[in-house]
């Protein structure tokens, strides 16, 4: 359990953050630049002293200003991956990696050096100096360095923000591997909703230093009132599903979700594995009657839950209940011509190709393993 309740003032900016979340999997802290995300993580790590507050992680009280408890950063046993890798320039990659590990008592080392080096693919870099590494390589080393002291929680402050798009794609799988392989709970800060949908289980939305909302990634990304915070442009729905089977003849995979079955071009995940599907609102179309003779494989019947008539924009987002909330973006003219209103029954047509493989994240249950840690 992570429990945070802090108040801090930085000039005219006030950070008043309070949340509680389990230590299972990845908790994402999302918000715009300047919302106070980095300050929250720095307070967790002990690098920033809040004016007042209390922090408890996994049963350890790290800060309690009321009782004059303030554990120094070096005793908090939290790993921290910074936006800029912050590798020590005067040490080799190997000494960077072992810096924290050697300061951890033998009995508390659960993460194996060779294991980490193997998972991150940095064997060939061990004797090099940080200066000679590429941005992506540096960030991989930084991940390993933060992980090797076997922290109770791994903090990541926009670890991909300083990398270009192709480097991001290089690092993302490593973060997923760390999540699935070492089962260390993580707090992941980002202003990129795509990264969060791919990685996170729980989402905390931060706006001007306060928690605007908190919940599962699926719930928060489908809430209209949070759109100004989650970003409107790539509006879409995030749906949890599990692999139900593979259709070898047509090269398709079937995903079971609360509203039925999705079919999409074959993915390699084994049957039973949980995945997350993201459907962009503009990739869904509507029909009033059950469409026949159409090419879409994924047609679901649903009922309109939310439709904002007051909008004057040419396009309107509609939320439809197909067993799970599904966002659809159509023109205001279509809403008018089809006479759509809340409660109307409609059929939604989802192009199977619109299911983005990049956003499928494997969510193994980390709960059982984290219990062992604490």
């Amino acid at each position: 359990m992570i429990s945070v309740d802090i108040i801090h003032r930085l000039g005219s900016f006030t950070l008043a953050t309070k949340f509680e979340t389990g230590t299972r999997g990845i908790t994402a802290i999302f918000g715009r630049s300047g919302a106070g995300k980095t300050s929250i993580v720095n307070v967790l790590a002990g690098l920033l002293q809040p004016r007042s507050g209390r922090i408890e992680i996994g049963g350890h009280v790290l800060l309690d200003t009321g009782n004059r408890i303030n554990v120094p950063p070096e005793k908090r046993r939290l790993g921290y991956v910074f936006q800029e890798s912050r590798l020590f320039p005067h040490y080799s990659v190997r000494r960077n990696l072992t810096y924290g590990m050697l300061r951890t008592p033998n009995a508390e080392r659960r993460v194996d050096f060779d294991d980490v080096v193997g998972v991150l693919g940095i064997e060939a870099l061990l004797d090099r100096k940080p200066r000679s590494l590429s941005g992506g390589e540096r960030q991989r080393v930084a991940l390993g360095r933060a992980l090797l002291p076997s922290p109770n929680l791994l903090l990541m402050d926009e670890p991909l923000a300083s990398l270009d798009a192709s480097r991001k794609q290089e690092i993302l799988p490593f973060i997923e591997r760390l999540r699935d392989h070492f089962h260390i709970p993580m707090v992941y800060v980002s202003h990129d909703i795509d990264e969060i949908i791919r990685l996170a289980d729980t989402l905390i939305l931060i706006d001007e230093g306060r928690v605007a909302a908190m919940g599962s990634v699926e719930d928060l990304t489908s809430r209209l009132d949070l759109r100004p915070l989650t970003g409107r442009y790539e509006a879409g729905s995030v749906i949890a599903a599990s692999v139900a089977g593979h259709d070898a003849e047509f090269g398709l995979t079937e995903l079971a979700f609360a509203g039925g079955t999705f079919r999409l071009p074959r993915i390699d995940n084994p049957v039973g594995e949980k995945v997350r599907v993201r459907i962009r609102a503009r990739d869904v179309s509507l029909a009033l009657t059950r469409p026949e003779s159409v090419s879409e494989l994924n047609v679901f019947k649903g009922r309109i839950m939310e439709l904002d008539h007051t909008q004057s924009a040419p396009q309107i987002d509609i939320r439809i209940d197909i067993g799970v909330p599904l966002w659809v973006r159509i023109t205001r003219r279509a809403v008018y011509e089809l006479d759509l209103r809340e409660g109307s029954e409609v059929y939604t047509l989802v192009k199977s190709t619109s299911i983005d493989r990049q956003t499928l994240s494997t969510q193994k249950s980390a709960a059982t393993i984290t219990e062992e840690i604490y």
């Binding site: 908090r76 910074f82 912050r86 810096y99 924290g100 100096k129 000679s132 002291p149």
Partner: protein
Amino acid sequence: MDFLTPIEIEAIILSSRVALWAMVWSLPLAIGVAWVLARCDFPGKSLLDGLVHLPLVLPPVVVGYVLLIGLGRKGVLGGWLFDVFGISFAFSWRGAAIASGLIAFPLVVRAIRLSLEAVDRRLEDAARTLGAGPLGVFFTITLPLIAPGILAGSILGFARSLSEFGATITFVSNIPGETRTLPIALYNFTQVPGGEAAAIRLVVIAIIIAFAALAASEILARRLQSRMGGAS
């Protein structure tokens, strides 16, 4: 060393010893003061800053005279040191090391402070999150990162100590074999008739030593640079 006269050899060895010990006592103190000036904020900081820089702007004779009053055998601190520990600085090479170290102190502090201010504090934060306490961070991160500044400061301080004259002669006088350092020996030769040739020789020796110190610092700096991760 047939080409050097015994007086010259004596002056070179004494000067080197004085300059070396001047650095030995002042360097740790300079690192500490530089750290306080670069990292701490407290009322009276500009007073400390001014105090540290005082030897740079005061006539060295004044510094030497203050030392004589304070650390002389009849001085306030000097008398106590002699009575309790039997340590005496007046008219000994140890006093010369104190005087020249004090004169060089602002230069050393300045060089180290500049490199301290250039250190990326975020690296120190990173080290804290990896389990290193403040002292551990200082010795494993800060100190290695400011090593080039410490080197530059000590070479500068060493050179300044070698050339120290005014404070030294005022505090510990001009005693052959004890406090007659190279500049004082040179001054001595210029004051006696027929000493010009010997004085010129000492001038050449002083220039050679200065160049050797510069070359040594250059080589050391390059080695440090490559240890820090290749060419900058």
